[in-house]
């Protein structure tokens, strides 16, 4: 939260600084299967966010004592690249913020991945923020869910993430960096669309119960769009090959 003294005007004539409506998310694009060595991967663009997610496994759990006899364990990494922000050069590797984010993301996927299928093994999820502009943990979840499906890890659903929040009396969806810095509340959310269960929920700022309801309602509504983008990315991997063969046939 920035101090109110230097808070810029974030809502002008009923629109947000970048011209979006309150419940409008930034344009989102996902490509699945972008990395060769990873078992599954996805590249996501959402506004200025550029995020790469990759999955390895199931593989042998290391160190051995971390392994669980009845199920797989998930290890998650979230890190911001040193060149990812518009401000100064960042430190490389995960800091304390990143370690906490990685933990809550891991817990999201522990809900949907069918861990019992691979006792004693480990599934690695890596989320690298190449360029960050607000809402990167939610976007990281959206990307990682596609990477997991692309890796063929059995799971119950393709989870999506998006952030919501409040500026003055307005509830808004998908906060960018400026909005995130000066908002009155910021709420990253992840949802399993099959039953609309909330799997990630964090907040700081101030919200009434009614405002909370409106915010979560916006998230659920945007889920339809995000899920479609995720599914299209996964299906495109196969459609691309179909198109290639059709083209070859014509020649």
């Amino acid at each position: 939260m920035g101090s109110s003294a230097d808070k810029p005007k974030l809502i002008i004539n009923g629109k947000r600084v970048d011209g979006r409506g309150f419940s409008e998310m930034r344009p989102m694009k996902i490509e699945a299967g972008v990395l060769k060595n990873a078992d599954g991967s996805a590249y996501l663009e959402q506004g200025k966010n550029r995020i790469l997610a990759a999955v390895f496994g199931p593989k042998e759990a290391t160190p051995r004592h971390m392994a669980k006899a009845d199920r797989a364990i998930i290890k998650c990494r979230y890190a911001m690249a040193p060149f990812s922000s518009l401000s100064e050069h960042g430190r490389s590797g995960p800091n304390r913020r990143a370690v906490e984010i990685a933990k809550v993301i891991r817990e999201v996927f522990e809900n949907v991945v069918i861990l019992e299928d691979f006792p004693g093994s480990q599934i690695d999820i890596s989320i690298e923020v190449l360029q960050g502009d607000g809402g990167t943990r939610a976007a990281g979840i959206t990307a990682a869910a596609v990477a997991l499906a692309n890796a063929g890890i059995p799971m119950k659903d393709i989870v999506y993430g998006i952030s919501t929040g409040r500026i003055d009396e307005h509830i808004i969806l998908d906060l960018d960096m400026i909005e995130d810095n000066f908002s009155d509340a910021d709420i990253p959310v992840a949802v399993s669309p099959r039953n609309n269960e909330i799997l990630l929920l964090q907040m700081d700022g101030g919200m009434t119960k009614e405002q909370f309801k409106e915010a979560i309602g916006m998230v659920m509504e945007s889920g339809k769009t995000i899920s479609k983008i995720q599914r299209d990315a996964l299906l495109e991997v196969y459609r691309k090959e179909e198109k290639r063969h059709e083209k070859n046939k014509k020649q």
């Binding site: 299928d117 499906a149 063929g152 119950k156 299906l235 196969y238 090959e241």
Partner: protein
């Protein structure tokens, strides 16, 4: 009509377990990206290998134990254990072997039997979910590649394909093309054409 399904997609009503699905509230859903067949089975397009009795696998001997037991690396989270008490062949660490899965022990160890050493050649790793397609119905696909490239090919269900002799490069290209195109129908003809046109 076969169609592509994704995790969470409804397959059918019911609650009986079939591979690559899960049940919830009296309904069966897909757990993976796969092809849904007409009889509502989900054939995965991605994912790791699940060891089943009778599967042919390829691995590397990493440790020599007593009484003809060997540890075999299968590029999988489960270790392979070769028991060949009455076998005439002895292996050394680093040998590439083809073997058959006898059983899975403690959900941790894959017990292997009937080993055969694979001399020389090279190996490539492919997605295990694509191996059935690389082998083809009654070995038709692998036979076709072998005949045209004059290469000796063994495909392990654990995603390792061993290739030796003949036009190795062309055989590798063909296997990788099948890996990319496993969901496409009429693949046998496509691969035949590719092989006869030398990969172009």
């Amino acid at each position: 009509m076969k169609k592509i399904v994704l995790p969470g997609d409804l397959i059918s009503e019911g609650d009986e377990y079939t591979p690559n699905t899960y049940t919830e509230g009296g309904k069966i859903f897909s757990a993976v990206a796969g092809m849904c067949t007409e009889d509502n089975r989900v054939v995965p397009l991605e994912g790791s290998w699940t060891a089943r009795t009778g599967d042919i696998v390829i691995g590397t001997v990493t440790n020599v134990g007593r009484n003809g037991t060997y540890e075999v690396e299968l590029e999988h989270f489960m270790k392979g254990m070769l028991m060949d008490k009455f076998g005439r062949t002895t292996f050394i660490a680093g040998d590439v072997v083809e073997a058959i899965v006898e059983r899975v022990e403690n959900r941790r160890t894959v017990i292997l039997t009937k080993p055969r050493r694979l001399h020389g050649g090279t190996v490539i790793e492919v997605k295990p979910s694509k191996i059935p397609r690389i082998i083809g119905k009654n070995n038709s696909m692998i036979k076709q590649i072998s005949e045209i490239t004059k290469s000796n090919i063994v495909a392990g269900e654990n995603g390792i394909v061993w290739i030796k002799g003949g036009d190795t490069g062309l055989a590798v290209s063909a296997v990788q093309e099948i890996e990319r195109s496993a969901h496409i129908s009429g693949l046998t003809d496509i691969i035949q054409e590719m092989l006869l046109n030398k990969g172009n």
